[in-house]
């Protein structure tokens, strides 16, 4: 497997084709290419002192997680004028131990154009996620101008700003905002903290071992999961990736990963980033096409959120039948995707190693109506008593 980004620090985020890493050794935000080469570097104007264990990007701000005595520190940074400026620091102590956090953030557009000094704006999608005190980043407009505006109140579809905008913006110009931090805390039996990202105050704590020992998470717009494109808190738990609906705290879905080396070793994921349907997992080891790899530095390993053939399971009933050239057995091939759901209407090609016996329906398609993932065919017995091997091969054509 190719080594790729070759990070020497265990944090990573992604934006527009570039991978980013905060390096406490030279106090810089490195902008790296897929092959590990450096595209650019942004010096930090505040020194890190300790290693960054997780890095997030919300479209405007970079967010870092560091260990401090008795807890963790989360910092918000912005690239300004070629330097990374520290904007906020939130320390969480005592009783905090975390390797994974993220910032809940949304990317929207203006539903209508506004003139300079406007104090009311309309968004296309996420008005319901905006609350008083949230800071919206507007822009760029056609003049490449940005600005931050604070939200005063929400009235129906109207978002009323604390003061008028400085610049004019057109319909569909970008609007970015963040609202909450989510911290997986491994102190005790595990908790998930929802934090006001502007004040650092705890809003609510969810308890459960489900949230214990989480080493990688992110927040993003995920394509390919049920039921459609969703904004989800995505976290890794052992060899699964879970998509959490932060409004209901229920899971959109759970997806199997291949961060596992037989017989019993889970490969640690240090950080996660999502772009489109690509899921980038930062690891120091990988299992790839039945081979194990380990690296000195950190590289990404890919998964996809797009539904993909993942596992096949074949069974026969009955498994023993007379070698009379007449009897049949029902062959069922169960084809699941990485979410553990049966795949729809995929062809499965069957083969057997008996010269006389044969498969009656070939190819057979997985269930079209109920999503069971089952493709059913039949095997007609040969004339010699023997163990017959039947294989099924499913192919993804889309």
């Amino acid at each position: 497997m190719y080594e790729n980004i070759n990070f020497r620090k265990a944090n990573m985020t992604f934006d527009s084709g570039y991978f980013y890493m905060m390096d406490d050794s030279w106090d810089a935000l490195a902008q790296k290419l897929d092959d590990g080469k450096t595209a650019f570097n942004y010096p930090l104007n505040s020194l890190l002192v300790s290693a960054v264990t997780s890095l997030e990007y919300d479209g405007i701000n970079f967010w870092s997680l560091q260990n401090i005595t008795g807890g963790v520190s989360i910092k918000r940074w912005q690239i300004e004028n070629n330097i990374v400026e520290l904007k906020d620091t939130f320390n969480f102590t005592p009783n905090f131990s975390s390797e994974a956090f993220t910032v809940e953030h949304y990317h929207d557009t203006l539903a209508s154009g506004i003139m300079a000094s406007s104090s009311v704006i309309y968004l296309n999608e996420y008005t319901n996620m905006v609350a008083s005190g949230v800071v919206l980043t507007l822009g760029p407009n056609s003049l490449d101008q940005y600005e931050e505006v604070s939200v005063n109140t929400i009235s129906g579809a109207q978002i009323i700003l604390a003061s008028g905008t400085q610049n004019s913006y057109s319909i569909n110009d970008s609007v970015n905002f963040y609202n909450h931090l989510w911290i997986f805390n491994s102190y005790g039996d595990g908790t998930l903290h929802k934090i006001d990202a502007y004040t650092g105050s705890n809003i609510i704590t969810y308890s459960g071992s489900e949230y214990d020992n989480i080493t990688a998470c992110t927040f993003g717009t995920v394509k390919g999961t049920l039921p459609s494109t969703v904004d989800a808190l995505v976290y890794e738990k052992n060899t699964n990736l879970k998509y959490l609906n932060v409004n209901t705290m229920s899971l959109y879905g759970t997806m199997a990963l291949d961060n596992f080396q037989p017989p019993s070793t889970n490969i640690k994921i240090y950080d996660l980033a999502i772009a489109d349907t690509n899921i980038y997992r930062l690891q120091k080891a990988a299992r790839y096409y039945e081979s194990n790899y380990s690296w000195t530095n950190y590289n990404y390993v890919l998964s996809t959120s797009r539904r993909f053939l993942d596992t096949v399971s074949i069974s026969a009933y009955p498994v023993i039948l007379p070698a009379n050239g007449v009897n049949t057995t029902k062959i069922t091939m169960l084809v699941d995707d990485q979410y553990g759901d049966g795949v729809w209407n995929k062809p499965v090609f069957f083969t057997d190693d008996d010269d006389v016996g044969f498969i009656t329906i070939n190819p057979a398609y997985t269930d079209y109506f109920f999503g069971t993932g089952e493709a059913i065919t039949y095997y007609k017995a040969g004339v010699e008593v023997a163990t017959v091997n039947i294989e099924g091969e499913a192919t993804q054509y889309d």
């Binding site: 527009s16 290419l33 650019f40 570097n41 020194l47 349907t277 690509n278 053939l309 192919t395």
Partner: protein, 426 residues
């Protein structure tokens, strides 16, 4: 791989500057300013009129040349020392020394890099001895520069010449007029021709590893280069642990045109500060990435000094860019102020597709120069290492954002496919 060139002695010649094809280094052990050629030979040697000690703390960590004077920075155990020198009659003569002591209750000094803000223009018309108005090609309309006043109340000093007789002199600016400046009556000793050189300097800029007495962050200190007095400082982590800096007129930023800028190296980037800006922080004209990184792409190679000449940036290093190879001496490595193709980001969406000879993925290459500006209208060639799969089109021109796109159609074997994008600098 780069070959050794100027071969400066480590621990003895940890500094350099350049002027008209020659490299200069202060050698505290030999008590000389050495003029070196590109291949490491010594073209000339100018003995100091004021000796330095042989102690390691007397090593000159940085050298600058402002067109008239050489400047040296020494980082001693109890102070930093900045000295102004001038070659006069084959001797390197000490003109002035500014010591910044750690015993200062308000400041602790620890610095490896500094520079002198210096400016170069020429006379736009001839002038005769005794004249009170000098007409200049540039800077006469820069009121900030022309109204520069030292902390002792003196005006800006212009260094005129040499003229055709080899004469040169300093004059003090009194005021500005359209196209030039006025000087005090009776102070101009010599006559000069049109296009004779005019040099001047203003402030010293020192990258200090302390902000006041705090080592939690660094600071960029501004001193009056005539009196040596402290003017102000700008705190920031970006100013800490800086080992190389210089001052130069750079024309690499389209939106600014030619600018006089303080340049320093931080990690693998050179940053260009606008020192003429007002405000609590200093803005940047830009930043450029360089190649002072080892083959592991994670270990930064230290740059001990930098200097610029024309569009060339010379970095003083003891290790070769892109390798782990180290030299027994310091030599220079080159960067360019001309925009070059520096990086190609390549991404596939989606990055996982079925190996069915039908599935496709969009491949996007983003081509940037060393200033992270997009390379526009450049042909990008795409290839893949999958015999059955294919990329089509095989080439595409970059758009206004430096993006070029193609589509990869999968092969029939499930495997990791490597797609490569190549851009040629034209």
């Amino acid at each position: 791989m780069a070959t050794e060139n100027i071969k400066l002695i480590i621990g003895q010649q940890d500094n350099f500057t350049v002027d008209q094809g020659y490299f200069y280094t202060f050698d505290h052990d030999q008590d000389s300013l050495l003029q070196k050629t590109d291949d490491g030979n010594t073209a000339f040697s100018y003995p100091f009129d004021t000796l330095m000690s042989n102690a390691s703390t007397d090593i000159v960590k940085s050298a600058e040349f402002d067109g008239v004077y050489f400047w040296s920075l020494q980082n001693k155990s109890d102070r930093i020392s900045i000295k102004r020198w001038k070659i006069d009659n084959y001797i390197c003569k000490l003109q002035q020394t500014f010591d910044y002591l750690d015993s200062d209750p308000s400041h602790t000094y620890d610095s490896q890099a500094f520079s002198i803000a210096h400016y170069h223009t020429q006379l736009s018309s001839a002038v005769i001895s005794g004249a009170t108005t000098l007409y200049l090609d540039d800077y006469w309309d820069d009121t900030t520069l022309m109204s520069f006043t030292t902390t002792s109340g003196d005006g800006l000093i212009l260094h005129l010449g040499p003229n055709s007789n080899g004469e040169e002199e300093d004059v003090e600016v009194i005021s500005t007029v359209s196209g030039g400046v006025t000087i005090a009556s009776g102070t101009l000793q010599y006559s000069y021709d049109e296009a004779d050189i005019v040099n001047f300097y203003t402030y010293l800029w020192v990258f200090n590893n302390y902000d006041g007495t705090s080592s939690a962050t660094g600071a960029l200190y501004k001193f009056d280069a005539y009196t040596g007095e402290y003017i102000t400082k700008y705190a920031g982590g970006a100013y800490k642990d800086v080992t190389a800096a210089t001052f130069y007129n750079v024309d690499s930023f389209a939106s600014y045109g030619p600018v006089d800028t303080l340049i320093y190296i931080k990690g693998t980037n050179a940053l260009f500060i606008n020192v003429g800006a007002a405000g609590a922080t200093l803005p940047y004209y830009g930043s450029m990435v360089m190649e002072n990184i080892k083959s592991d792409e994670s270990t930064v190679i230290a740059v001990y000094d930098i200097c610029m000449d024309s569009q060339n940036i010379y970095r003083l290093q003891s290790a070769v860019d892109g390798t782990g190879t180290t030299w027994g001496h310091y030599s220079y490595l080159l960067s360019s102020l001309d925009a070059f193709v520096t990086s190609i980001s390549l991404a596939a969406y989606p990055a996982i597709i079925a190996a069915n000879t039908i599935a496709t993925t969009d491949i996007t290459a983003i081509v940037k120069d060393q200033f992270l500006q997009p390379i526009v209208g450049r042909l990008v060639y795409f290839t893949d290492d999958d015999g059955a799969g294919s990329v089509l089109p095989i080439s595409d021109n970059t758009d206004g954002e430096g993006k070029a796109e193609t589509v990869y159609t999968s092969g029939n074997t499930a495997r990791e496919v490597k797609i490569t994008a190549v851009v040629e600098q034209t």
